[in-house]
Symmetry: C2
Subunit: 257 residues, 2 copies
């Protein structure tokens, strides 16, 4: 029985990521959150603050995957062009959302009032609903399967918390790890044999095995990660892999090194 796999794409928007000024944190944050929702992050694109780049990335990922998320570029300044670009990509006008306007009016009542620049943060692609933001004035935006989130990681986190449990997904991705103090090239054949027995055709496989070498405390080692939506299949694969490694004379560290 082949189970429906729910998928998502992410577009990270911002010159500060591509210039190396800012270390992105939202890819890992969204990936972990999606796993719990039973949705797989399948592709990420990072683009500059330029309309054609945003339009291309969002239009590709929103049609290719079940969900498309974006982070960045929804603030009040001239370089925040995400909403306009996505509206262009969706072929809808930009409108001022009445609830967003009210929220911003309340937020800025004691902070100098709602200026024209601040009102920019109430602008949404026509047809959108809002995603709550308790951290700062500007809400996130949902339009169909497109989710427009903030770029500052702790504000993104608040928006994801507001979305938790509201998106349809499949079974959460299960991940189990074991580790060995071994050069991964020594056990490559063993891994390949386990992969052949448990994974079959990569696209429809119940589990996938990843090998992640490291160099620590003057020694080489590797962690082996088995991932899949079927917890039993993951457990069977990790048990088989552990047994074969032990038979080959390696000490296996449960839960990885």
């Amino acid at each position: 029985m082949s189970e429906r796999i729910w998928t998502a794409g992410l577009v990270v928007i911002g010159d500060e990521i591509l210039s190396g000024r800012t270390q992105d944190r939202n890819v890992a944050q969204l990936a972990v959150w999606l796993n719990v929702q039973g949705i797989r992050l399948s592709e990420v694109r990072m683009v500059a603050d330029r309309t054609p780049a945003i339009v291309e990335a969002v239009n590709t990922l929103r049609t290719r995957y079940d969900y498309c998320f974006t982070t960045g570029g929804i603030g009040p300044t001239h370089d925040d062009i995400t909403v306009d670009a996505i509206a262009e990509g969706l072929g809808v006008p930009v409108i001022v959302h009445p609830e967003a306007r009210e929220e911003l009016e309340a937020h800025y009542e004691t902070r100098g009032g709602l200026t024209e620049a601040r009102l920019r943060m109430a602008r949404v692609p026509d047809g959108a609903t809002l995603i709550a933001n308790r951290m700062s004035g500007a809400p996130g935006i949902r339009h169909g399967n497109v989710f427009i989130l903030a770029g500052v990681p702790h504000i993104t986190a608040g928006m994801l918390a507001a979305l938790t449990g509201t998106l349809e997904g499949g079974r959460p991705l299960v991940s189990r790890t074991i580790g060995c103090w071994v050069a991964e090239s020594e056990v490559a054949e063993l891994l390949r044999a386990v992969e052949r027995d448990h994974c079959g055709d990569a696209k429809d496989a119940a589990v996938a095995i990843g090998s992640y070498p490291f160099f620590r405390e003057g020694r080489v080692g590797a962690n082996f990660v088995v991932r899949g939506a079927d917890g039993d299949a993951v457990a069977r694969c990790i048990a088989d892999l552990s047994e074969r490694l032990a038979l080959a004379g390696y000490n296996v560290t449960p839960d990885g090194i």
Copy 2:
């Protein structure tokens, strides 16, 4: 006079990035290195360990930009499929590179010998040259404008060091930052005015202004970053922006907060 801008794309390959297990460090590392070479990182794609996804991303970015880099998936195990996928995308066979074979033989002479799995790391798309790797056995690979690098950040760093100064680029990107303890929405209009006077059409602009808000020590603030290849234009813009912020009554912190 419009100057030639040299551009690069990056494909980050690996399930461990998309599952959230591993925090990517190579986007920022490559971006900073490219800036010094006078090359602009224009787009990043993160894809899973699946051949069609790698082929699509690499073929798009290598034709769209001057250079295409990849990180990840060049080790000895079954999930390391980068070389095969890129060869498929380039339409060339995979061969064992004689020099890579020699290097691996030397490296593994005292480490248990060159097994079949280890020999996998000598495989390259036909027509490729090697990028030195002093950290571990497996070299990086160059094929035309495609650069295939390791995924482990300190090994990636070694390969970038080997490439330093060998790629044609333009003037390095210059970046200057100032900061204010101010809500960015308060100065959005001022920023927009400076942007209009200095940036013109975004695509050919000599400089770009980014606004990066933060919340620290219980107060809101923002850093303003001016970037461009023309150091004089960047300096003029930052001076003008500082002056207008000071005239509006804000304390400007040179070099950012």
